[in-house]
């Protein structure tokens, strides 16, 4: 399950990133050849945004997210370690679920008050759908890891 999500988000984010490069490069080429197209900056930026959110989900699935954790490095105990990790996951779940929820509200707002991108005519609010989906995955992953921690604790006892 985790593997499928990982590959899915890698494929999506990688494709978006590649498209971003292609689109911005096409913008350079077309401008220098004198047949400027107006939409490349806008599309490039949207692809960038979408690739960041899906990429963030992928990075979290791969546990590649950045953290500082000076205190957490000191905690080693059999009880305190899982407690700390569980706490971290709870915060992650709380935040990601909130982002997913309110990004969905942004999306709804976007249907009521459309934000139409000037050169492409796309409703930019759709980006919130990608944001919501990515953070849902982060939240689910958090739940999954929390479950693991709890189960592992149970086994020790």
């Amino acid at each position: 399950m985790n593997k499928i999500l990982e590959n899915l988000f890698l494929a999506i984010s990688g494709t978006l990133l590649t498209l971003m490069v292609v689109v911005v490069f096409y913008g350079v080429v077309s401008r220098e050849l004198g047949w400027s197209v107006a939409w490349t900056t806008e599309l490039g930026q949207m692809l960038f945004l979408a690739s960041v959110f899906t990429g963030a989900a992928y990075a979290t699935l791969k546990k590649a997210h950045l953290q500082i954790g000076v205190l957490s490095g000191l905690v080693k105990g059999r009880f305190s370690q899982p407690l700390l990790e569980g706490g971290q996951q709870l915060v992650v779940i709380l935040f990601s679920a909130a982002v997913a929820w309110f990004a969905t509200a942004n999306l709804m707002d976007g249907f009521r008050y459309p934000d139409i991108s000037p050169t492409l005519g796309i409703n930019r609010s759709y980006l919130y759908a990608i944001m919501a989906a990515s953070f849902t995955v982060i939240a689910i992953h958090g739940l999954y890891r929390l479950g693991h921690i709890v189960v592992a604790r149970g086994r020790i006892q």
Partner: protein, 432 residues
């Protein structure tokens, strides 16, 4: 103390120290602040999304991708071989090379993290392969990247020029000498630290027979690799593309050379390059996004302004004033990102320093140097994040490894405060 201040001063450090992911810490504190301010919560998610609206950010994943492709495609190896041939006998040569590569790259890039991404993606793996310790490799690249905002072109200097009503051309000229000076100081520190950490390039350590060829042969073999910087610099200065677009052109060039000329890269290699870019840029950019929300709630509460207000009017001496301001900026720089802090602080600080007879051009450069330092101080030090991801080491370790370089930057800051002519001489000459 009200709940909002508790949120910023207690909750944020606590979450970060307890190892909650940085983007979650910043994001949840920003969200809570929005709630405490009675803002609708959609404001918070909107703030996170719009944190990525800055077009210049697009250069970061592009340069990382270009670096990864060059690495997989054999371009990097060619370049490193030449560096080793030239400087291999010097202690820490690759560290020094990294700093000077950053200096030259800074002449095309206007951003700090962009510079770390571009040079670090090439040099950090190279140093690691040559046996340099990872914290050393990462700290050199993270530090060298700060030159990106000092040496023109520079996004923060443009912003400062517009806000402070100072000539951008003057600012660009003023940044050159301090930028080169800082480069040499950092290179010196890279040398010293290399000796200490035992990071010496082993001669022929990886049994590379091609390295024994004469330099001319190596240069000729590497012609397509060496053409990349020429292409980028030339393309920008001849007006074919902007610095942001250059990142994308670098990707295309690296692809073409890897596939058509070197023929080393496979489809798997390419996918691996994209994979590591997605992972790195996803982890990094989401922090940038959440930090923008954080900067916004801080701006709404006018916290940096209150901070500055505490310290204005305590002295008559311009130098003491500058020392105080820089110290305060260093503190603010730990948790605020460059462009946000310039947008918020320049409007209050410029009139203040001008009333002390301090040249706003000088102040702009000092502001940028403090921001260079801010790139390297946690919790919010984007250069650290980029380098730690590329080198795959913890931010805590990197933050310690980078301390000697921070000391150099602080020293440079003091030199610039006490010798203003270092900054102001070049713009005067150019105008005359």
């Amino acid at each position: 103390m009200n709940w909002l201040y508790m949120d910023f001063i207690v909750l944020l450090p606590l979450l970060l120290l307890l190892g909650v992911p940085i983007f979650v810490s910043l994001g949840i504190v920003g969200m809570l602040a929005a709630y405490l301010m009675n803002n609708p919560m959609v404001f918070a998610t909107q703030g996170i999304l719009n944190g990525l609206e800055n077009f210049a950010l697009l250069a970061i994943p592009s340069f990382i991708l270009a670096g990864n492709i060059m690495e997989k495609g054999g371009i990097t190896g060619d370049i490193i071989r030449i560096f080793r041939k030239l400087f291999g006998h010097i202690h820490g040569s690759l560290g020094i090379v990294t700093i000077f590569s950053c200096m030259f790259f800074a002449a095309i890039s206007g951003s700090g993290p962009g510079t770390v991404a571009a040079i670090g993606a090439i040099m950090i793996p190279a140093m690691q392969r040559q046996g340099y310790p990872a914290p050393y490799a990462a700290s050199v690249a993270a530090t060298g990247g700060t030159l990106g905002v000092m040496i023109p072109p520079s996004n923060p200097l443009i912003l400062y020029g517009v806000i402070a009503n100072v000539s951008i051309a003057d600012l660009f000229a003023a940044g050159v000498i301090p930028g080169v000076m800082i480069s040499f100081l950092l290179a010196g520190m890279a040398y010293l630290m290399a000796r200490r950490s035992g990071a010496v390039a082993k001669s022929g350590g990886d049994n590379d027979s091609r390295e024994r060829q004469p330099l001319g042969c190596l240069l000729w073999e590497a012609k397509f690799s060496l053409f990349l910087p020429v292409l980028i610099l030339g393309g920008i200065y001849l007006g074919f593309f902007t610095p942001v677009e250059a990142s994308v052109c670098a990707v295309v060039y690296a692809l073409v050379v890897s596939f058509a000329v070197y023929r080393q890269i496979t489809l798997e290699g390419l996918i691996a390059a994209v994979e590591s870019t997605v992972k790195l840029s996803g982890a990094l950019m989401i922090i940038v996004a959440c930090s923008t929300l954080f900067a916004k709630v801080i701006a709404i509460e006018q916290i940096p302004q209150q901070f500055i207000a505490l310290f204005s009017g305590v002295t008559e001496s311009p130098i003491v004033l500058l020392l105080i301001i820089c110290a305060v900026l260093l503190v603010i720089g730990t948790f605020m990102e460059t462009l946000s802090s310039i947008i918020i602080l320049a409007p209050i600080l410029v009139p203040l320093v001008e009333s002390y007879g301090i040249d706003p051009v000088l102040f702009g450069i000092l502001l940028v140097v403090t921001n260079e330092i801010a790139f390297l101080t946690p919790p919010l030090g984007v250069n650290l994040f980029v380098a730690s991801q590329i080198a795959d080491i913890g931010i805590g370790r990197l933050a310690i490894a980078v301390l000697p370089f921070l000391a150099v930057l602080v020293l440079a800051l003091l030199i610039l405060i006490f010798f203003p002519s270092l900054t102001l001489w070049l713009p005067t000459i150019i105008k005359a």
